[in-house]
Amino acid sequence: MSTASWSANTSYYKITDIASDAFYPIAIYDNSSRRWLEDNVNISQLDRMRADWEVWEGSPRYWLPVSHEYIAVVPRRSSVSSDTFDFYYAAFAETVVDTNVPNIISDMQYLIEEYATADLLEAAEELSKAVTYWRNYYNGIEKYSKRVKLLAKPAILRIA
């Protein structure tokens, strides 16, 4: 999550200007109105609401991704203020350097080694060897993905 300020006369925000490591957005919370911006509209629905939604001014209510680089926030703010919003996003992994502790659980860190070995074997034209490592890597990724979802299960139990 990253917190940023609303800009005046801005319908489109560049994702990487809000958070440099952002891959794609998930949700936006407006700290001034204390509301989650609605995320269930697409461009044609906005067009049906207002032909001039790109210059519609007011308190932000909707947001939608328009490309992998930009999100639209509608209506847009007409004046500059110190009001902020929280931007929830999926991030790119940081670039690995030797001193890094990988950002995944310790018993799955071998996956990085599997990937690197497969990639290097591929470059060396050792394809059948590379395939073995690729298989280990993708099987491991699948297992890890299931495990991460399982860890999150308590948070996604229906409470109603």
Binding site: D39, E125, L127, A160
Partner: protein, 246 residues
């Protein structure tokens, strides 16, 4: 000594990007038109793959069909604020407005996603990779080429995806070149990877990243513009968002 020249590698990399973008149009760019009063037709850059949206000082202009356009033209050549446009990209990149514009509007190159919307005629379009290709070297994707105004030339496939994807296409083609390095088995290997990841990344970009999230429990399913009370994202309430990308 390098096995293949830089030019050859770059050529295949660019071609791979073009193929990917033709199949999955995900790169979006904007250009502002210089409008002249009394002129209805304007030529667009070759990089305009297809038009996504046109706004006249922030107000959307609708696309129209040839049949309707002929009927409209039968009325006369009246001038006013255009409400419709016709785009013929078969053979020539010409756009025609109806009614014919009755004012002259200067174009700007910056802030096309921001403050310039209110004062410009802006075309938002899906672009081919060529938009970022340098007109001199023909290979620099991070430099804005020609007269297309790009918001600092960053309309590129995300680097984490681009490198892995295009390397596979380039390798599949490089190993096909008639030389001592030719190896059809390796070429097939990379071609299989290219097809797999092209489909996977294309779907990720087009169908997942660029679509509305719809995570909120919303009170206005029919888009009735009355005020609603959006709640926390559904996963906070317990509605599972069991998508492979979340």
């Amino acid at each position: 000594m390098a096995i293949w020249s830089d030019e050859t590698v770059t050529r295949f990399t660019n071609r791979g990007e073009d193929i990917f973008l033709q199949e999955f149009p995900v790169l979006i760019n904007r250009v502002a038109l210089s409008i002249v009063a009394g002129t209805s037709q304007y030529t667009l850059e070759d990089s305009v793959h297809s038009i996504r949206r046109i706004t006249w000082k922030g107000i959307k202009i609708e696309p129209t069909s040839f049949r309707k356009f002929r009927n409209l033209n039968a009325i006369g050549t009246e001038q006013g604020r255009p409400t419709e446009y016709l785009y013929d990209n078969i053979g020539k990149q010409v756009i025609q407005f109806f009614p014919t514009p009755n004012e002259t509007i200067a174009s700007t190159a910056t802030n096309l996603f921001g403050a310039a919307i209110k004062t410009n005629v802006i075309i938002e379009f899906y672009t081919s990779g060529a938009v970022n290709r340098d007109t001199v070297t023909g290979d620099d994707r991070y430099t804005v080429g020609g007269s297309v105004r790009n918001l600092s030339g960053e309309a590129v496939i995300p680097s984490a995806i681009r490198d892995r994807l295009l390397r596979r296409y380039a390798n599949s083609q490089l190993y096909l070149i008639e030389s001592r390095r030719q190896n059809l088995r390796i070429s097939k290997y990379f071609e299989a990877g290219w097809k797999l990841w092209k489909a996977k990344y294309g779907r990720l970009l087009r169908d997942v990243i660029m679509k509305p999230r719809r995570l909120l429990a919303n009170d206005v399913p029919n888009l009735n513009p009355r005020l609603s009370t959006p709640r926390l994202p559904i996963d906070k309430f317990g509605e599972a968002v069991d998508d492979e990308w979340y």
